[in-house]
């Protein structure tokens, strides 16, 4: 009998972290260690996470492929599956199938270059996977810039790691909040970052994009506004990478949901360059 | 070894009359059949016909819907609105051939503990005689 491609791995929830009131991070370990041994993935790939009884939902793998034995996912509670995933406790079982999709060409294209990460809000997880991947191989890259912004202080994810990056000497972290996002009611005291929208902050960052790689991820409007800024900073369109989050059901290029133009985001994506994007119909 | 089949009855009741009526049955120690599982809602107006359908589909053999008598509604009108819904819903189910003997509607006030106890026992006995609601249970079996 052929293999059932829809059958997930069973994963034990090892850790649950609250990032924001409605964003959580789960650390998952393979219930069957043997499966964990053989499992591998690359930065940028995603998977389908099952909440048994509710269904499957697609998120990227937010942990770095350089760190073995577990995977992490970060998600915002929005629908039926994520509501159930929100309620899991350490020790509970959830399902995971993947990895799916293409990857960031780290070895092929990124090595030896400066990397600039640009992310907004909940879109940090897919970038974070690359960041850690890059940081774990720090000596293979030149400058590393991270520009990350959110609406309010409350909406910043991975606050601990932001602190780590900020403290690290070899990383240039620029964090920003939308105007008004530093109010005490958002849990903020003493904001030490910038104030302003990501594209604006990016523009003023002074980053030189010539010959560098940019990894960009965020809400559609942020992507739209940041792309020209990156080009202005000197990045080539082919060197601006982003990852798309279309609605997906199968992750395998079958269900047709993520189809945009001749791309199946789950197969040809989710990692696409700005050059790729330009060839696609505006339906994402 | 065959276990004796016992019906599952789900009762949707309003908080102010029937739930209180069931409480009264309790404080008065009126015994009734243990097959009923009460789901409390604020008002009969909140009891959606979909609840009944879902209950039957999810394995209930009988459903009771009960609330305040007309003019007694804590919210004045909830039961009147509900009554209209049930009139239509019953007409629909009748035409579809759903066994309406399995769905019992009753007004039962907070003072009618004895009525509530009698209602539950009567419904349970009736459903027990009718047997499991296989027609609906079969719906869940997947063809192919």
């Amino acid at each position: 009998m052929s293999e059932n491609i829809y059958k997930p791995y069973l994963m034990k929830v090892a850790e649950v972290r609250d990032e924001t009131p409605d964003i959580k991070t789960l650390k998952l370990e393979f219930q069957n260690p043997a499966e964990g041994e053989t499992f591998s993935f690359k930065a940028g790939q995603f998977g389908l996470y099952s909440a048994f009884g509710a269904g499957e939902s697609t998120f990227c793998i937010a942990s770095a492929p350089t760190r073995k034995g577990y995977i992490e996912c970060t998600f915002r509670v929005a629908g039926r599956v994520t509501s159930q995933l929100r309620d899991v406790n350490p020790g509970d079982t959830i399902g995971f199938r993947g990895p799916y999709g293409n990857t960031f060409p780290i070895e092929e294209k990124f090595f030896g270059k400066s990397i600039t990460f640009v992310a907004g809000g909940i879109a940090l997880p897919p970038v974070r996977c690359v960041i850690w991947n890059v940081l774990d191989l720090r000596d293979k890259f030149k400058d590393i810039n991270i520009v990350y912004g959110a609406k309010t202080y409350q909406d910043l994810v991975y606050k601990d790691e932001l602190q780590q990056w900020q403290d690290a000497k070899d990383i240039n972290l620029i964090k920003t909040l939308d105007p008004g996002g530093d109010k005490a009611e958002y849990g903020c005291n003493n904001w030490d970052g910038k104030m302003g929208f990501v594209p604006t902050v990016l523009k003023e960052s002074g980053i030189n994009g010539k010959g560098g790689i940019a990894v960009l991820c965020g809400p559609p409007i942020m992507i739209k506004l940041s792309l020209p800024v990156l080009v202005e900073l000197g990045f080539a369109k082919e060197d601006i990478y982003t990852t798309l989050e279309n609605k997906m059901k199968c992750g395998l290029g079958k269900c047709g949901r993520c189809n945009v133009g001749s791309f199946y985001v789950c197969k040809h994506g989710p990692v696409l360059t700005a050059a790729d994007l330009a060839t696609m119909p505006d339906e994402f | 070894m065959e276990e004796k089949w016992e019906p599952t009855i789900i009762a949707f009741v309003c908080n102010w009359c029937t739930y209180a009526g069931a409480d009264l049955a309790g404080t008065s120690r009126f015994k009734y059949a243990p097959n009923v599982r009460i789901i409390k809602t604020p008002c009969t107006g909140r009891i959606d016909p979909m609840f009944i359908l879902s209950a039957l589909e999810r394995g209930a053999d009988g459903v009771i819907v009960s609330g305040c008598h007309p003019n007694d509604c804590h919210y004045n009108e909830g039961n009147f609105n509900a009554r209209r819904k049930y009139i239509m819903f019953r007409a629909l189910l009748t035409q579809l051939g759903v066994d309406l003997d399995r769905v019992t509607f009753a007004w039962c006030s907070a003072s009618e503990g004895i009525k509530f106890a009698g209602l539950v026992t009567e419904v349970t006995d009736r459903i027990r005689k009718m047997g499991p609601y296989t027609e609906f249970k079969q719906l869940n079996q997947d063809a192919r």
């Binding site: 269904g55 629908g79 039926r80 509501s83 | 016909p49 979909m50 359908l53 879902s54 589909e57 007309p70 003019n71 009108e77 009147f80 609105n81 009554r83 209209r84 819904k85 049930y86 009139i87 239509m88 819903f89 019953r90 007409a91 629909l92 189910l93 009748t94 035409q95 579809l96 051939g97 759903v98 066994d99 019992t104 509607f105 009753a106 007004w107 209602l119 027609e135 079969q138 719906l139 869940n140 997947d142 063809a143």
Partner: protein, 287 residues
């Protein structure tokens, strides 16, 4: 059908409306909806016995709602849908210019041979349309009087069956449903932008086209239409599985008429019957 064409041209060229929704011929015995935005496109407009579609469905489209004003070619029965849409705040009388068509009746049956008179026409009370802004077409035969209670033979037929027979009948019929939602999309009264079947917290209705899901879906649709269905029969017409959907809708129409003395779509002031009540509503089923 010169008068429709002329009317449409007049309305468009004078700027009274910016869209006319009407019918065009497509095949010998088939018509279909036509959107006319420019006077010169109006020449294709027709009206004949094949104009069975209820165009009121299009009134709740965002792009139609965004027009300044829309004209719609409507038979008396279609106007019932418009009335309900206005009652339910989905349109306004001012926004719709009703080109009412005197209608001797349309035909039913699938292409290419729709020959039978449509069931809805046999009980039509509005062959001469009511509340139209302009009424076109030759005087039709006299309508059935408004106060006449209508029973449908097919409903009566079904009512005669035993409960088990009814169940078997619907099991068979509903097993055919493929959940394409053509019924919903064609229905002028199904205008929700998020249908209950599209909700998953909780998932009241199974989205699979298995028996349970199909039963739930069709029950819910009929129930949501109770007291609102205007008997246009579009759901049944467009059903690729040929399920006699109107049997359910008509059952409920009769029930509403009998129990609440109400027929939908005739009175702009009326409330949908499931949103109002009488203190002495029938309740012999309640203990």
């Amino acid at each position: 059908m010169k008068e429709i064409i002329e009317k449409a041209k007049e309305l468009l060229s004078q700027g009274t409306v910016d869209l006319v929704i009407g019918y065009e011929q497509c095949g010998d015995k088939q018509c279909r909806p036509l959107f006319v935005q420019k006077p010169e496109e109006a020449d294709k407009l027709v009206f004949n016995e094949f104009c069975v579609h209820n165009l009121a469905t299009y009134l709740t489209r965002p792009e139609v709602k965004q027009t300044k004003r829309v004209a719609i070619v409507a038979k008396g029965c279609d106007i019932r849908a418009i009335v309900n849409l206005i009652i339910e705040n989905q349109s306004t009388r001012e926004h719709v210019y009703i080109i009412g068509m005197n209608c001797p009746g349309v035909v039913s049956g699938k292409a290419p041979n729709p020959t039978k008179p449509h069931t809805k026409c046999q009980t039509c009370k509005v062959r001469t349309p009511q509340m139209s802004d302009v009424t076109l077409g030759p005087t039709p035969p006299e309508s059935i009087p408004m106060d006449k209670t209508i029973t449908h033979p097919d409903v009566e037929e079904l009512k005669k069956k035993t409960r088990e027979e009814k169940w078997a009948f619907w099991r068979e019929q509903l097993s055919k449903c493929i959940r394409c939602y053509a019924c919903r999309q064609a229905c002028p009264m199904c205008y929700c932008n998020r249908c209950i079947v599209d909700l998953n917290t909780p998932q009241w209705i199974d989205t699979r086209s298995n028996l349970r899901g199909n039963l739930d879906w069709n029950i819910v649709r009929a129930y949501h239409l109770s007291g609102r269905c205007i008997d246009c029969g579009e759901c049944e017409r467009v059903c690729p599985a040929n399920i006699p959907l109107m049997l359910l809708n008509r059952t409920l129409q009769e029930e509403v008429k009998e129990k609440f003395d109400f027929e939908s779509g005739y009175d702009l002031e009326a409330c949908p019957p499931l949103t109002v009540f009488e203190k002495d509503d029938h309740e012999n089923f309640i203990r």
